[in-house]
C-alpha cells in the first residue's frame, strides 16, 4: 500500500529533484571535508551551515507550499510550527550542555540559574533523551496544528479570516515565549549549544552531517508531498482549493482533508525548525514573529506555488540573495531589493520562477502540439466555442 503510494508520486521530475538533493547530501559535505582550500571544488566551512539553513528554509517553504499551493490554505503563522520544532530541538541541546554552562549546574540551563529557579519546569522533563525530543519536534507543532485546525476547519473559517487568525496564533505565541516566566529563556531564547548526540556541534563533520540530514529530510519530504498530491487525496485537496463547497456537496468531509494536510504540513515545518536550530546555533521568540511567517509565504510565491519544487527554489533564492545583499556596500538597500522582489514577483511572475519557467516549456510543447494538429492530427474536440482553444499559458 505504502509502496504503491510512493510509486504513484515518483515520476521523472520527482526523480530529478530527489537525485539533486541526495547528491548534494553526499557531495557537498565531501567537498567541504576532503578537499583543500586550494582546490577549485573546495567549499569553505562556513558555507555548510549556511547552505544547510537554506535547505531547512526550503523544507519550511515546502510545507507552506503544500497547503497554500494545493489546498488553498494561506497560513501566515507557519513560523510558529517551525519555531516549536526548533524549541524542542533547542531544549534537547540545552540539556546536553550539562555542567559546561557558565554556572556549571548539571541540570538547570544557565538562564534558569540566572533567574534563581530551583528545579526544572515540567515542560523540560524528558528532553535529555534524543528520541523523546525528536518525538516532540513532531508532536508539539502537530498537536498545536491539530487543535487549531480542528476548530478552524470545523467552523469553516476560510480565506483571509483563516490567514489572519493564524497570524494571531503566532503573535500570541511570540508574546508568550518572550515572557521569561514561561521558562523557555525569554527573549534570549536558547543558545550556546555544545553537543548533539555526543558530537561537538561546531565540528566540521557534525556540520556536514547536519547539512546532509537537511538535504535528505527535504528529499524525503518532497517525495511524501509528491506522493500525496499524486494520490486521490491530492486530487481532493486541489478540488477543495478550487471549489470547496462543490467538494462538500460531493460528500467529502472537507474539514478532515484540510486537517490532515494542515497537521502534516505543521509537522514538516517542525522538522525544518529542528534541523535549523543546531545549524544556526540559536532559537528565540523572534522566530514566532508574524513578519517571518509572511516572509515564508513570499519565498513560496517567488518560487512558484503551483509546483512542489517552487517553494524550495524560492526559499533558497531569496535567502541566498539576502545573505549576499546584507554584506558590504549593498546592505542599506537590502529592504528595497526584497520589497521590490515581492512587488515584482506578484505583478510580473504570478506563477513564480518555477511556474513561469515551467509554463514557458508547457507553452512551447503546446505550440508544437498545435502545429501537429494543423498538420492533420486532431488533438482536441473543437465543438465548443472555446473547447479547442489551446491555452498559451497553463492554468494555475
Amino acid at each position: 500500500m505504502i509502496g504503491s503510494f510512493i510509486r504513484n508520486g515518483f515520476d521523472r521530475s520527482a526523480f530529478f529533484v530527489i537525485l539533486v538533493l541526495v547528491a548534494a547530501a553526499f557531495v557537498v559535505p565531501a567537498l567541504a571535508l576532503y578537499t583543500t582550500p586550494a582546490s577549485p571544488f573546495h567549499i569553505p566551512g562556513y558555507a555548510i551551515p549556511l547552505m544547510g539553513k537554506y535547505l531547512t528554509y526550503g523544507l519550511l517553504a515546502l510545507s507552506v507550499g503544500l497547503i497554500w499551493g494545493y489546498c488553498g490554505i494561506l497560513s501566515l503563522g507557519h513560523g510558529a510550527f517551525f519555531a516549536l520544532g526548533g524549541y524542542a530541538m533547542g531544549m534537547y541541546l540545552m540539556r546536553q550542555i550539562g555542567t559546561r554552562g557558565v554556572y556549571g549546574d548539571p541540570v538547570l540551563p544557565d538562564f534558569m540559574v540566572f533567574l534563581n529557579w530551583d528545579e526544572l519546569p515540567v515542560a523540560w522533563y524528558g528532553f535529555q533523551s534524543f528520541p523523546y525530543a525528536m518525538l516532540m519536534v513532531v508532536l508539539a507543532p502537530g498537536i498545536l496544528a491539530f487543535v487549531f485546525g480542528w476548530f478552524a476547519f470545523r467552523s469553516r473559517v476560510t480565506g483571509v479570516y483563516l490567514s489572519i487568525i493564524t497570524q494571531a496564533m503566532t503573535f500570541a505565541l511570540m508574546l508568550g515565549f518572550f515572557r521569561n516566566n514561561l521558562g523557555f529563556g525569554g527573549n534570549n531564547g536558547l543558545t550556546d549549544f555544545k553537543d548533539i548526540l555526543g558530537f561537538n556541534i561546531q565540528a566540521p563533520e557534525t556540520r556536514a552531517a547536519l547539512f546532509a540530514a537537511s538535504a535528505l529530510a527535504l528529499a524525503l519530504a518532497y517525495l511524501i508531498c509528491k506522493s500525496i498530491i499524486s494520490s486521490r487525496f491530492g486530487k481532493v485537496i486541489v478540488a477543495i482549493r478550487d471549489a470547496e463547497s462543490r467538494t462538500r456537496f460531493l460528500g467529502y468531509r472537507v474539514e478532515n482533508y484540510k486537517l490532515v494536510v494542515w497537521v502534516l504540513s505543521a509537522c514538516m515545518a517542525g522538522i525544518a525548525g529542528a534541523l535549523y536550530v543546531p545549524q544556526v546555533g540559536i532559537i528565540n521568540p523572534g522566530e514566532f514573529e508574524p513578519a517571518n511567517s509572511i516572509e515564508v509565504v513570499i519565498w513560496v510565491a517567488v518560487g512558484g506555488r503551483g509546483l512542489l519544487v517552487g517553494p524550495i527554489v524560492g526559499a533558497i533564492v531569496v535567502n541566498f540573495a539576502k545573505s549576499w545583499f546584507t554584506t558590504g556596500a549593498l546592505a542599506p538597500y537590502w529592504l528595497f531589493a526584497l520589497g521590490g522582489l515581492f512587488v515584482g514577483v506578484t505583478l510580473f511572475l504570478p506563477k513564480g520562477i518555477m511556474g513561469t519557467l515551467g509554463g514557458g516549456w508547457t507553452a512551447l510543447k503546446q505550440r508544437r502540439a498545435s502545429a501537429a494538429a494543423e498538420a492533420g492530427v486532431s488533438v482536441t474536440d473543437t465543438d465548443g466555442p472555446d473547447g479547442g482553444r489551446l491555452k498559451t499559458e497553463p492554468a494555475e
Partner: protein
C-alpha cells in the same frame, strides 16, 4: 405531526429562513415523490436557490422540518452527510474543478468511500474506470477526457457537472438552471439528458427558461416570496392569474 408517507422522497414542511430581516423562505412546504421530476420556477428572490441550500445543508432553516427518504432529518446533517445520503446538487454557475481533467472530475465524484485514509492509499479499480467511461459517453465528453475542465466551454462544463452528479449515484438531483448560457441545440440536448436521468432518479430542476421547462413536460411549482404560489402542469400555472401577475406578466 404525522410522519411523511413512504413513497415520498423529499418532504419540506413550514420551512422559513431569514437573512437580516429578509425572509428568503416563508413557511415553504413541498413534497417530491420518489422517481418524480419537478420543475421549480419563480422570479428573482423567490427563494429557489435558498430552498436548495436548506435541502443540501448549506443553510440551516430557522423553523420547519425537512425529511428525506422516509425519516432522515436533513436539518441536523451537514453537506457531506447529505451528499452521502444521495442528494446531488448542480449549481447555477457551473462549478467543476477547473484544474482537474474531465476524467479526474468524474473520478472524484464517483460514489465510494470518502475518507482521508482511503483517499491517500487507494487506487482506482477497473470497475471504476468502466463507470467513468460510461458517464463520459452519457455526457458526450469522451474525446475531452484529458482536458483541464477550465478549458471546457460553458455548455461542456454544465454537462460535466451533470455527469459528476450522476457519478455520485444520488437518489435525488437538485439542478439549478442547467440551460443557462446554452445554445438552443444544447438546451434541447440537456432537456433530453434530464428526462433520461429522471427515469431512474428524482430530479428537481430550477429554471428560468420557459421553453426549457415546457420541453421537460413535468409538474411545475411556482415559488414567490419564499412560499409556493401555484403548482400543476406548465399550462395550468401559466394560466394562474397570480402567477401571471408576479412573474410571467412582467
Amino acid at each position: 405531526m404525522s410522519g411523511p408517507e413512504t413513497e415520498t422522497l423529499l418532504y419540506l414542511d413550514g420551512v422559513s429562513v431569514s437573512f437580516d430581516g429578509f425572509k428568503a423562505l416563508n413557511e415553504l412546504s413541498l413534497i417530491i415523490q420518489a422517481g418524480e421530476m419537478r420543475a421549480i420556477i419563480g422570479p428573482n428572490g423567490a427563494g429557489k436557490t435558498t430552498m436548495m441550500d436548506v435541502v443540501t445543508g448549506k443553510t440551516r432553516p430557522d423553523t420547519g422540518t425537512i425529511y428525506f427518504d422516509g425519516n432522515v432529518d436533513l436539518t441536523k446533517l451537514d453537506e457531506a452527510s447529505i451528499a452521502e445520503l444521495g442528494i446531488g446538487r448542480k449549481f447555477q454557475k457551473p462549478t467543476v474543478f477547473q484544474h482537474h481533467t474531465v476524467w479526474d472530475n468524474l473520478e472524484l465524484a464517483l460514489a465510494g468511500r470518502r475518507g482521508t485514509f482511503a483517499a491517500l492509499f487507494r487506487r482506482e479499480g477497473s470497475s471504476e474506470r468502466e463507470r467513468i467511461e460510461e458517464l463520459l459517453g452519457i455526457i458526450r465528453l469522451g474525446e475531452l477526457r484529458d482536458m483541464e475542465a477550465a478549458n471546457l466551454s460553458h455548455g461542456q462544463k454544465q454537462w460535466l457537472e451533470i455527469g459528476m452528479l450522476l457519478a455520485q449515484e444520488p437518489k435525488l438531483l437538485l439542478v439549478d438552471e442547467p440551460a443557462a448560457g446554452m445554445t438552443d441545440a444544447e438546451t434541447e440536448a440537456t432537456a433530453d439528458l434530464l428526462k433520461e436521468i429522471a427515469k431512474e432518479k428524482s430530479v428537481v430542476v430550477v429554471e428560468h427558461d420557459m421553453t426549457f421547462v415546457r420541453a421537460l413536460g413535468v409538474k411545475v411549482t411556482v415559488l414567490h416570496e419564499g412560499s409556493v404560489l401555484s403548482e400543476g402542469t406548465i399550462d395550468h400555472v401559466s394560466e394562474d392569474p397570480r402567477v401571471i401577475e408576479v412573474y410571467l406578466g412582467r
